[in-house]
Amino acid sequence: MDKFVRLTATACPLSLPNLNTDQILPARYLKWPRSKGLGTVLFDDVRLDANGKPRDDFAFNDEAYRGAKVLLAGRNFGGGSSREAAVYALYDHGFRCVVAPSFGDIFSQNAVKNGLLTAIAAESDIEKLAALVRETPSQPVTVDLEKQTVSGNGISFKFMIDPTSRNQLLNGWDDVDLTESYRDQVAAFKAKDKTLRPWAAPAKP
């Protein structure tokens, strides 16, 4: 997994609340292998109108935000379905950080496993920055995970992140390797658990 320490890039303001994972990546794309280009169908059902034309009122479609790596989002971003492909779609499109007032629990966990930072900040701070970004989209913002700050366009604010996720992103830890280092503890737990909870194993039908 790629580490995340500090990022300076342009941002895309997307203030809609409740952009759940069905909106981030519609279910019909879930059978696609990642190599087919999930980044190209990101936000398809909110991005396009009923005739398949890009909607003018959806900032993501604006040329000015092309190449943005930071997404300034609304409350409850990534709620709903556990589909990790929603994270793949954001990442493969180029986003490395989403700043929002709150995130779906499963989405946050999926994000950190893929090197995508989910930064929790006050709605007022995000809105203030989003307004400035709308004025000058080319101005980059800097997201600093060590300091837990988002800054740019002359303002700066703190963001929150679960310390475990922060650790994992800063170090680029791989969970499976980490778990391997606890192999003995896992084996000991398993042996003891068999005697403590004999009923936990499925019975023979």
């Binding site: 059902d45 709150s102 499963i106 966990q109 778990t179 009923w199 936990a200 019975a203």
Partner: protein, 491 residues
């Protein structure tokens, strides 16, 4: 409806670590957590042992990740496969016509076959929706930690299990190690005391809770449902309630096991048998929150005041009692909320202030991991019996076993006589990836869990409600209060 809410104000939850008072009293959540904790890191992450891992067609990303590392499934006997997300619900005896969908089902067969994982595949008489099959096969038990690459895994918490949905990377981790790194969630108790009125179901409790605490109200929390109205629920009702925990933002919801739980489990194929079962019941009976245990948040509801609920917008917290009206964005002082409401009503094709019972529907759907169990089908049939649906509709039982039982009880005939289609089991029109879609612009009264834009198909308009309320909408042709339709009938 008066709902009492005690807790911090709504809105984003600070992630600040709070000192929990050290106490010997434990909640059910604490007990389940400590039963599965192998190690805890300094930064607060714990490595947990996983007792059951359910996989489905969508788990292919995870199997690929595992293969890429050259690894095998650590505990195949604790892993179970179910074909549900992509399976056709109609005409599947002749095979799967759509090659992409056929490939998804074949892929699951290959991945489970190569790894010695038991599969409840398309042709298996036990096939069904994973969250229906796990409980009915006795694989889901109290005191277990259960995961699946599906957010509605919270369903299994109905048995007093610690059950939650995970993404593909976590699925891969569980496949390879049978463990998972997790941070202990905060604890929320939702107490529902009182007695539900006639025609009111677990779905109405759940939608009332979600409307009150909002779609993100339980983020970062594990929920325990308690109170006399919860105790009075059947296992089917508890499964519906826990299923919808995720729609309130809670990754897991649970109900402490009791006599109802044990009676349901006794004799199930994979449940402990004979004296093993009795010994298990002794352990399971201790899986309750201690009387003086404290929770991070408490929410209280009065069951007597819960009315039939329907949704009108594009998130499950856009829910109101059926005698209400569509809200008016012009009366909303919060600018962001007003903008959201305008977009939601525009998508739903609804005018502000419309009476909910004036909303005409184009079709109905009864099914999904939320509401497709035998009790759900009986509740819908009780309304439909001797009546005709004014709109087309699809009924997809939660499992092949539920289907057989419903047919033994003659429920299929009631649905067919009412003009609805009686189909096979799968996730079907809840998520539409098997091809069961609501056409664009059409309005569907649905027993499912998500009224998100495009959830039942691009442009589809979904109204969530209980099975009995869907039946009421079917025979009325518009959203309707089921209660008058039950007069003189056994609900």
């Amino acid at each position: 409806m008066v709902l009492y809410y005690c807790g911090p104000p709504k809105g984003p939850q600070p992630l600040k670590q709070t000192d929990r008072k050290m106490s010997k009293s434990q909640t059910l959540i604490d007990k389940l957590w400590s039963m599965h904790e192998i190690v805890r890191r300094d930064d607060g992450a714990s490595l947990l042992w996983v007792d059951r891992h359910y996989v489905h067609e969508g788990s292919f990303h995870a199997f690929s990740q595992m293969k890429k590392r050259g690894r095998n499934v650590a505990e195949p006997q604790l892993t179970f496969g179910v074909a549900d997300h992509y399976v056709p619900t109609r005409g599947r005896d002749g095979g799967i016509a759509n090659p992409e969908i056929a490939a998804m089902v074949r892929n699951l067969e290959a991945n489970t076959g190569e790894n010695q994982i038991t599969l409840f595949g398309l042709r298996d008489p036990r096939q069904g929706i994973v969250h229906v099959v796990g409980p009915e096969q006795g694989l889901t038990l109290p005191g277990l930690l259960i995961v699946c690459g599906d957010s509605h895994t919270s369903t299994h918490g109905a048995f007093g299990a610690y059950a939650f949905g995970i993404g593909a990377s976590e699925v891969a981790h569980v496949l390879m190690t049978q463990t998972l790194w997790q941070k202990k969630p905060k604890r929320m108790r939702i107490t529902v005391d009182g007695t539900l009125g006639t025609g009111i179901a677990a779905k109405d409790i759940a939608l009332s809770i979600i409307a009150r605490i909002r779609a993100d109200g339980a983020q970062g929390h594990a929920i325990e449902f308690s109170g006399s109205a919860i105790r009075a629920l059947s296992m089917e009702g508890r499964l519906t309630l826990c299923n919808l925990s995720i729609e309130a933002g809670g990754r897991c919801g649970m109900v402490a096991p009791d006599a109802t739980t044990f009676a349901y489990l006794k004799g199930r194929p994979f449940a402990p048998k004979g004296s093993d079962f009795d010994r298990a019941v002794e352990t399971w009976s201790a899986l309750i929150s201690d009387a003086d245990a404290s929770f991070d948040r408490e929410v209280l509801l009065n069951a007597n005041e819960i009315a039939p609920i329907v949704t009108w917008g594009t998130t499950p917290d856009d829910a109101s009692p059926v005698d209400g009206r569509v809200p008016d964005p012009a009366r909303e002082s919060d600018v962001t909320r007003a903008k959201y409401l305008r977009e939601a009503l525009d998508y739903m094709g609804l005018a502000p202030g419309t009476k909910l019972t004036d909303i005409a529907v184009d079709r109905v759907f009864i099914g999904s991991c939320t509401n497709s169990r035998i009790e759900d089908l009986r509740a819908a049939a009780a309304v439909l019996s001797g009546r005709v649906s004014k709109v087309p509709g699809l009924v997809s039982p939660g499992s092949s076993s539920v289907k057989r039982q419903a047919e033994e009880e003659g429920l299929d005939k009631i649905f067919r006589d009412a003009g609805l289609e009686w189909a096979d089991s799968g996730c079907s029109m809840c998520v539409g990836i098997n091809g069961d879609l609501v056409p664009s612009g059409e309005r569907c009264a649905s027993t499912t869990n998500r009224n998100f834009r495009g959830r039942q198909g691009p442009g589809a308009r979904t109204h969530l409600m209980s099975p009995a309320m869907v039946a009421a909408a079917a025979v009325s042709g518009h959203l309707a209060d089921v209660r008058p339709l039950l007069t003189g009938r056994k609900a």
